[in-house]
């Protein structure tokens, strides 16, 4: 039996926000794959649960009239990874999601839960950051949008006030059209494991020039991060082996990994440099570029 003191099911976004306002100690539960793990064995980390599991208006994947992709945060990983819209327009997100847990976990865990849990290893975060995703946050009577990159404040901390919830994840057309990506998760096992380092890149290639590149890492800092300095240095350069070497050499200035029982800082830095090379190379190849 899980150890919580109260449980209320919310039928809508507004109801969930009201329930949060009524109880400053309440927590949302969506797919439960993080919350229930923290509640098992009688642990009392979340005594008051507001259940948003069945809110239909948060479970969708759409492409709007402008061609922007909008993902409801209660979409489970399996639905996102199998969505024809996601596979066609932002396959790098599907690629990343399929490395999460195993099938049973992906059938329950939600993409919004993965982001709102705020851990630096969230595998769905790096492809979305590389795609300049924006999240919509709703509170009582108000709604705001912020870049996903700014949503992560620290390990387990995100830019949500107590009475707020994430209601949409948007990737605009301009941010995915013409971009090709790749994701790689370095972990001890091929499934059911937490990333030692996760890496996502999206590239735009024009006439053998790297017209644009966005590179993101998980577990390379206290939050999932973008490599802005590296991106600015290489944008517009001709594609070559030297370019890949330069990217690989530059990323260490964008990251700040730590030593933990999973891996030492030095080892993570090595993986980060190696993955920069490998993941950007594959993204360029996916974009139709050739590496000389």
């Amino acid at each position: 039996m899980f150890n919580f003191k109260s449980y209320t099911k919310a039928g809508s976004i507004q109801e969930a926000i009201q329930l949060l306002e009524q109880n400053p100690a309440a927590h949302l539960i969506a797919g439960g794959t993080d919350v229930l793990v923290k509640l098992h064995k009688g642990k009392a980390q979340f005594p008051y649960l507001v259940d948003i599991h069945d809110i239909a208006e948060l479970n969708f994947i759409d492409r709007n009239d402008d061609g922007d992709l909008v993902i409801g945060p209660l979409s489970c990983f399996t639905h996102v990874a199998e969505s024809p819209l996601i596979r066609k327009h932002i396959p790098v997100l599907a690629e990343a999601i399929l490395t999460i847990g195993g099938p049973q976990v992906r059938n329950m865990a939600t993409i919004g839960g993965n982001l709102c849990n705020g851990v630096p290893s969230a595998d769905s975060a790096t492809p979305l950051i590389a795609l300049n995703a924006v999240v919509t946050i709703e509170g009582q009577g108000e709604s705001r949008q912020i870049p996903l990159e700014d949503f992560f404040l620290g390990p387990g901390r995100v830019a949500l006030e107590h009475h707020e919830m994430m209601t949409a994840i948007t990737v605009t057309r301009a941010n995915y059209e013409g971009y090709y990506g790749h994701f790689f998760k370095y972990a001890m096992r091929d499934a059911m494991d937490i990333a030692t380092i996760g890496c996502s890149a999206v590239c735009k290639v024009e006439d053998e020039i790297l017209a644009d590149m966005r590179l993101a890492y998980g577990v390379a800092a206290p939050v999932p991060i973008r490599c802005r300095d590296t991106e600015n240095k290489v944008r517009g350069r001709k594609i070559s082996q030297q370019l890949l070497d330069d990217i690989s050499g530059a990323v260490k200035n964008d990251v700040s990994p730590r030593t933990s029982w999973r891996a030492a800082r030095e080892f993570r830095l090595h993986i980060i440099a190696t993955l920069a090379h490998r993941v950007v190379k594959q993204s360029i190849l996916n974009a139709g570029g050739t590496i000389t």
């Binding site: 099911k9 439960g32 794959t33 229930l36 098992h40 259940d51």
Partner: protein, 159 residues
């Protein structure tokens, strides 16, 4: 606060109406109230897959699933897989390939494999795909090879 709730669910084709405590997992309700003891608790944190059941045909770890979420849904466990005294094709393949040793992971593997086999539609499936499809289940005895072969045999029968 009242922590009890009435849940109506279908288990292996039979409709049930039961009172549950909202703090109970589906695993606890299936085992303790409904007698479905094929559903094993291994890790209780969604790592081992021993408690895998199909909820509306989707494989789920019953340990990380609140019993109240099952309201209105249809559940399949190993108890319902034998029909007319005949093992399901997945169960029979596990027997034929010797994919069972100590047996504690077997019900979870059978349900995960059943979902995997039923989901494939004329798609060519490699042993690697099968391993990825069963990545949410752990077995400490078999080394997985016989399990993968059993699933492969089921899929070959289809074509």
């Amino acid at each position: 606060m009242n922590l009890n709730s009435t849940v109506t669910l279908t288990v292996n084709g039979k409709k049930k109406e039961i009172r549950v405590d909202v703090r109970q997992s589906l695993l606890e309700v299936l085992r303790e109230q409904l007698g479905m003891i094929s559903v094993k608790q291994g890790c209780a944190v969604g790592e081992c897959g021993a408690c895998t059941v199909l909820i509306d045909e989707v494989p789920i770890d019953a340990c990380l699933y609140l019993a109240v979420w099952a309201d209105g849904r249809s559940i399949r466990t190993v108890e319902g897989e034998i029909r007319d005294d005949k093992l399901s094709r997945v169960q029979q393949a596990f027997v034929d390939e010797g994919a069972v040793q100590c047996g504690i992971c077997t019900p979870g593997f059978v349900m995960a494999s059943t979902a995997f086999v039923e989901k494939q539609q004329d798609r060519k499936v490699s042993r690697h795909d099968i391993r990825r499809g069963l990545a949410g289940n752990l077995c400490r005895c078999t080394g997985y090879d016989t399990i993968v072969t059993a699933v492969q045999k089921c899929l070959e029968e289809d074509t």
